[in-house]
Every structure is written in C-alpha cells, then in structure tokens.
C-alpha cells in the first residue's frame, strides 16, 4: 500500500524473533547468530569482527537473535543491489525510534520510498551539496579550533566528549538555524535518545526534542531565514506547502541522523590515529591527498547499517527471500569485502576511487554525506596541525556500547604540550 506522508499511520510490522520464528523458506544451513552490534565478540573490536565476517560467515545468512531475525548481507555487490532497488526492498519500519501511535509521524525522508521521496530531497539537497557545504568550511574550522583551544594546553582530553560530540552538534545547529547555546541540551537529548537503550528514556527524549522543535518550527514560520528548518517550513513542492506532520518528521529526522554518526566516526578515526603514528604521519606528510585519505578512513570506519523490508518475493545470491522478510546490509562489513577492496583491512590512502558504503547507496543515500566528509576532513586538518602527536592514555580500556551506531564510548587522549602548535 502506498503511504501518504501527510497522513502518517504506523506500519503493520511482522517482527520475527528467535529460532521458533524462522520461516520455512529459510535453508537450515544459512541460519546463524552473529550477534551484530551487541554480542561480546562484536563489542570487543567491532570493525575487526565485521571484517572477519567474510571468513567466518556465508556471504548471505539468516540471522536469528534477540534483536529480531533478518537476512544479513555483507557482500559489496549485494548491498548495492538491495539498496538500489527500492521497489524490492522498502524502507517502511526503517527506524527503531518509539513514537506515539495516536500522534504518529514518519521520519522524512528515510521512511518514504519513491516516488514521494524525491520531493523531500529536493528541498534539502541543495544546501547539502558538495559546493553548498563549502560555505560552512570557515565556520567549521573556527569551531574546531575553539574546541582545541579549550584543552590543548592541558596535554589531554577525552576526545569523544571534548571534540567528537560538540563539533557535529555545533555544525548541525548552525546549519539548521538553531541557537548555538542549545549545544549542551542537544547533546544530552542525543545521548538519551541514541545511547540509553531504554525505550522509556528514548521516548521521553523524543518528547523533549519534539516539544523544542515544534516551537522552533513556529518561530521559523514567523521569521524565515535561509537555514534548513526554515527551508523545510516554507517549502512548497509543486506549489503545495508541506503539512505540519511532514515538516515535523523532516526536522526531527535530521536531528537523529546528523549528530551521532559523525560523532562515532570521529571517535573511531581518532582512536585509530592515536594507535597508528605511521598513518598519522602519512596524513601530515601528504596534505594534498586529504580527499582520498578521508574517503579511505570512512571506508574502514563506517558506523552504521541499512535495514530494509522485502516488498515482493525475490532472489539474492541464489537464495529465496520472501515478502515481509527483513534484511540488513552490514555496511562496515561490505566495505571490507575483499572482492571490492583487495587487502581490505589495510588502510591505503592510494586506492582507486570506488563507491564505499559509509553513507549507503540508492535513493536513501545519506543526504549529509558531503557535510560529514567535510567535517571529518577539517577535523583531521585542524587537529593534526595543532596536535600532531598524541596517544591513548595508558591504562585505558576502550569500550563499545551496543547499538546501531558503532564507535568507542570514550577516547581519552594525551600528548606533550611542547609538541603542539
């Protein structure tokens, strides 16, 4: 059934959980339980674990577990197929966040499939194009440096809290046209919503975010500007303004999408660079190659997954998938597919350019990808200029929290202030 974005209704979803809910069309030999995103082996070293799936698992398997049963795709080629065929693999039920069924809304545009999807993307894509995000470059550099100023002389910081978290939040507020002094509040909401793993806390956080955004939307209705929320509020695709539900679902989705992913990516990369001085040096010695360097770091440190629901019976890799089945593309694993990226675990800043799955692909390809790339690139440039030598604080145990965005919880770093600039 085609959904009506202006009149959202909760989808009827059939969740299967556990061994006794494996449908009969699933071949027994393809059933596994990899405990992606929450098992202890995964959490010990997530990216290593996901790279290793190419050796330990079939290329496509049916995963049975406490979080729900779903096909798992780890081949680059298969992910491209699944994600590029929205007519076979749809996005209903694509986001796990709890909503009030009596006041339901869709997360826009992620939960909207073609043909309605493009009209939303056309509103925001122009401000997030490679060229448009460059307008934020100076501001992002300034924010990065202000954050570094706050701790550089101390010779230490907790990277996640002092840099990885606030940088994307500031950029987000700036882009949306929201006041920067909301940063601490937004950070606490983001943590509750995305990291509490408690549906009551998530629901409460979403309620606070909703309340705030409703006021912000009303304010933009009265006082238009050229920032994202205002553009959404005043958009009129084909002459028709968006409904209240659409405006809200769009604004709240950007909040969810824009904060945690860059945070986790930065944390992963800084942990890696702290432990790999030779790679750090390569970045410093070859500043001209920053675009390829950023892309390669995004390849090996992708942080998220793309889940879809099968819309009609189909076949993938010779395996029968049936309507209603769930399928997850383990994007970080797809980026370690040796057939797509030879010697996949090696960080090689001179690989030929090729589609990576950090930002997924297909119509739901990440609309913030260019902004994310720019943030990572600027963070690398500004940080390495000022703190070229740094390491993880001795005695630190790096821990990963379960969840759909993969990165270390804390990255305590230290350096000799004499080596800084």
């Amino acid at each position: 059934m085609r959904m009506d974005p202006a009149n959202p209704v909760p989808p009827v979803v059939h969740h299967r959980v556990g061994m006794d809910q494996v449908p009969p069309h699933v071949p027994k030999e393809l059933i596994r339980s990899a405990m992606i995103a929450y098992g202890s082996e995964f959490l010990a070293a997530p990216h290593d674990y996901m790279a290793g799936l190419h050796e330990t698992m079939p290329p496509l398997w049916y995963d049975v577990g406490a979080m729900g049963n779903a096909w798992q795709a780890i081949k680059h080629e298969d992910a491209l197929h699944v994600l590029r065929h929205a007519e076979l693999f749809n996005n209903e039920d694509a986001t796990p966040f709890p909503r009030d069924p009596d006041d339901y809304f869709y997360f826009i545009p992620i939960e909207i499939d073609p043909p309605d999807h493009r009209k939303y993307r056309n509103i925001v894509d122009p401000v997030l194009s490679p060229k448009a995000v460059l307008e934020l470059e100076g501001r992002i550099r300034q924010l990065a440096n202000e954050l570094i100023d706050g701790f550089i002389a101390k010779g230490e910081c907790e990277f996640a809290e002092d840099f990885g978290r606030p940088l994307p939040v500031y950029v987000f507020l700036e882009l949306m046209g929201l006041p920067l002094d909301m940063c601490p509040t937004f950070v606490s909401w983001a943590i509750e919503l995305l990291h509490s793993n408690d549906r009551a806390i998530m629901g409460e956080s979403l309620r606070k975010i909703s309340e705030y955004l409703k006021v912000a939307i009303a304010d933009k209705q009265a006082h238009p500007d050229d920032k994202v929320i205002s553009r959404i509020v005043h958009a009129a695709p084909n002459g028709e303004p968006l409904s209240e539900k659409e405006i809200f679902g769009f604004a709240v989705f950007l909040f969810i999408a824009g904060l945690d992913t860059v945070f986790a990516t930065l944390n992963n990369i800084w942990l890696y660079l702290a432990e790999n001085p030779d790679k750090r040096q390569e970045l410093i010695d070859d500043p001209e190659n920053i675009t390829a360097q950023t892309e390669e770091l995004l390849r090996v440190f992708s942080v998220t997954f793309s889940g879809r629901t099968v819309s009609q019976d189909t076949e993938l890799r010779g395996v029968q998938l049936k309507k209603g089945d769930k399928i997850t593309c383990i994007l970080p694993a797809c980026n370690f597919d040796p057939e797509a990226f030879p010697n996949p675990r090696e960080v090689n800043f001179h690989r030929p350019r090729k589609t990576i799955l950090a930002f997924t692909v297909g119509v739901h390809s990440c609309m913030g990808a260019h902004l994310a790339r720019l943030e990572v690139k600027i963070a690398l440039q500004e940080w390495l200029k000022r703190i070229p030598e740094f390491r993880v604080k001795p005695g630190t145990k790096i821990e990963y929290r379960p969840g759909g965005v993969v990165g270390p919880e804390q990255v305590p770093l230290e350096w000799d202030p004499a080596t800084t600039a």
Partner: protein
C-alpha cells in the same frame, strides 16, 4: 536560464532549464528526468549520473575534469564511451545553452 536537452535511452527527449553554476545532474533531479539517479549527490562517490555528451558538444564540455571522475566512471553500469561524463561534474554556463546529453541504458545493475 540555459536549457539542457536530456535524451533518454528510449529516445524520449526532455528540455529543461538549468541555472548557471548548477550542475547537469541536479538539473535532471529537479525536473524528475528518468534515467539519472545521482545517488551520492554530486560527490564523486558513485557513477549513477552517467551521461553521454552529444558529439556536437564534446569540445565545449570537455573530458572528465578529474582523476576521481575517471575512476568513478569505471564503475558505471552501462558502456563507457569517449563521450561519457558524470553529469554532476558538468557545471552549467551561458556557453552551454542548448546542451544535449544522452542517457545510458542503466545507471546500475
């Protein structure tokens, strides 16, 4: 505003206006032209806005503008020809008024 003609693989033609300094891929997306996907949004991270520049325009449009564009074109799903470009890398200018681009059979498998 300069106009661009998109010729679908089927032969169907669409003439649309694309603002100066905007790229040809976006011109297609804004006007719902079938046959161009542009999934990465113009970041040289996919090859789903592949087009063939009409022979009459190749001199003015020029070859791929960067090694990255050349790399990405290699993963295009349809045949890559000497006139192949990623349309996100063709920026509109007054000199391109009337540009004609042909769309490939497919943008991915």
């Amino acid at each position: 505003m300069p106009s661009v003609t998109f010729v679908e693989f089927s032969g169907a033609k669409h003439v649309v206006d694309v603002p100066v300094a905007e790229n040809v891929m976006r011109g297609a997306l804004y006007n719902d032209i079938p046959g161009i996907v542009g999934e990465c949004g113009g970041g040289l991270a996919c090859a789903t806005c592949h087009c063939y520049v009409d022979e009459a325009w190749t001199d003015r449009v020029g070859p791929p503008s960067s090694p990255e564009e050349r790399d990405m074109l290699e993963s295009a799903a349809a045949e890559v020809k000497p006139t192949s470009r990623l349309s996100c890398q063709i920026e509109m200018s007054g000199g391109l008024e009337g540009l004609i681009v042909h769309l490939p059979e497919k943008q991915y498998d």
